[in-house]
């Protein structure tokens, strides 16, 4: 039996939500693409389900409301940074209200493959005002645990190419115009992104996790952190 959590919103939150109804746990894994997030989430899901926990997954750009349109808009690269930022906020809010809150009410463990911090960090790199972002995302629920997988930009790049994946236009920060070289732009963008994360860490207090080890070693650390929040095996 999981003891009931005392949830709160960062700000006023979503109108009409009774926080006392929320029973589950909200656990967030942050980190850049190719940091091993998806692998870890799959492993953590197996582990949690084996222990009898019901798990719900959320992520970015997965809402019923706008994910399709968001994808289309990104392909064309036609939205201004602020519009894109608000589009993502809409996507987040839709998942918060329709996936995260209902799952927490039902006592699920919600594993979030990134949360508001990635959205904020990306916007900060593109010049957004932190106070504005904090206000927009004051609707968000404060998670029980936020872990940030740290992997050096060079290592990320190696993993990308090693896996035969093409560098993504957005993950390389090509829209910002640092450099016409994808390599240079990627390294610079990921470095700036990390810097923004560090700024956010000072405010929101994530747990940094060294992602440059074997997947098994990373999983063990994540499990230990999660156990501290959900308690030992039932």
């Amino acid at each position: 039996m999981i003891p009931s959590a005392r949830f709160r919103f960062y700000g006023e939150g979503i109108p009409g939500v009774n926080l006392a109804d929320l029973k589950g746990k909200l656990i967030v894994l942050e980190g850049p693409d190719a940091s091993g997030r998806s692998t870890q989430i799959a492993l953590l899901t197996d582990w949690l389900e084996r222990r009898g926990h019901a798990v719900e997954h959320v992520g970015l750009k997965r809402s019923t409301l706008v994910s399709g349109e968001l994808g289309k808009a990104k392909e064309g690269n036609i939205l201004s940074p602020r519009t894109l930022s608000l589009f993502y906020a809409t996507d987040f809010a839709d998942q918060l209200e329709n996936r995260i809150l209902p799952a927490l009410r039902a006592g699920f463990i919600v594993l979030a493959d990134r949360y508001i911090y990635t959205l904020m960090a990306r916007d900060i790199v593109r010049g957004a005002d932190l106070a504005w972002l904090q206000s927009v995302y004051s609707i968000a629920l404060v998670p029980d645990l936020v872990m940030y997988l740290r992997v050096a930009p060079q290592k990320l790049l190696e993993r990308y190419i090693y896996r035969g994946r093409e560098l993504d236009y957005w993950e390389a920060g090509m829209d910002i115009g640092y450099s016409r070289s994808w390599y240079d732009s990627f390294i610079r963008y990921q470095t700036e992104l990390h810097r923004s994360f560090m700024r956010l860490q000072a405010i929101y207090g994530f747990v940094p996790v060294n992602g440059m080890r074997t997947p098994r070693a990373v999983t063990r650390e994540l499990q230990t952190r999660i156990e501290a929040v959900i308690g030992p095996t039932a």
Partner: protein, 232 residues
């Protein structure tokens, strides 16, 4: 967080019109646009909720009732941001008189009636300039209701405020919803320095008053288009 309104520091002028459905604001702003363009001024007109990229998502959300007060608010702000950064701001920088048929106050009124905290919505829209002039077309609630309900048979779900669960009857719901919007507008009119225009009069009389305000408050000569832009 306290809000400090963002002042328009561009060479252009931003004129917004706000008011209930049926207040006659669209007719009036259309006539203003015609007057300015026929007199050879640089004028640009923009409407609420008309940007093409976000429209699709908004439509889907409305049709399938997927929207909550928060996502309703965010999706409209997304749409507004797109239009603001793509149209309004460039035209202001280019030195145009920008006429906005509904502006951020429409969101402030609607979203707060739907339960979003005022401060949150204000922050959301804090990137957008305060208008140089905001015309508020006011008329008694009953008159506005009669105009809308007399002319149109079916009310749309969100337009009637059905998502608020005020009444199962669309017409009843619309009346209650508009009543609350009306109150929100009245409060904004007081706090945000709107120029109030009484709407229950002949179109021509109202138009004359609005033109008078524009002449007084904007140095129109400054916005004269260069000869080659005048449409003959």
């Amino acid at each position: 967080m306290t809000m400090r309104p963002l002042r328009n520091d561009t060479p252009g002028k931003l004129v917004a019109v706000e008011g209930l459905d049926g207040s006659g604001k669209s007719t009036q702003v259309y006539l203003i646009k015609r007057w300015l363009e026929l007199s050879g001024y640089k004028v640009f007109f923009t409407e609420w909720n008309s940007s093409s990229i976000v429209r699709e998502a908004t439509r889907k959300g409305k049709r399938r009732n997927l929207l909550t007060p928060t996502t309703f608010s965010l999706i409209h702000c997304t749409d507004f941001a797109d239009r603001y950064e793509r149209n309004i701001l460039p035209m202001l920088k280019a030195g145009f008189i920008v006429l906005a048929d509904r502006y951020k106050f429409t969101a402030l009124a609607r979203d707060t009636v739907r339960g979003c905290p005022l401060e949150w919505v204000e922050q959301l829209y804090s990137f957008a300039f305060e208008p140089d002039i905001t015309f508020y077309f006011s008329l008694p609630l009953r008159t506005a209701l009669d105009r809308i309900l007399g002319g149109r048979p079916a009310l749309k779900y969100h337009e009637a405020g059905m998502d608020l669960g005020l009444s199962p009857d669309p017409v009843e719901s619309f009346k209650i919803f508009q009543g609350r919007i009306h109150k929100a507008y009245e409060l904004l009119a007081k706090n945000r320095g709107f120029t109030r225009i009484s709407s229950g009069r002949p179109v021509e009389a109202i138009q004359e008053e609005v033109r008078g305000v524009l002449r007084d408050r904007i140095d129109l000569a400054h916005y004269k288009a260069v000869a080659r832009w005048i449409v003959r």
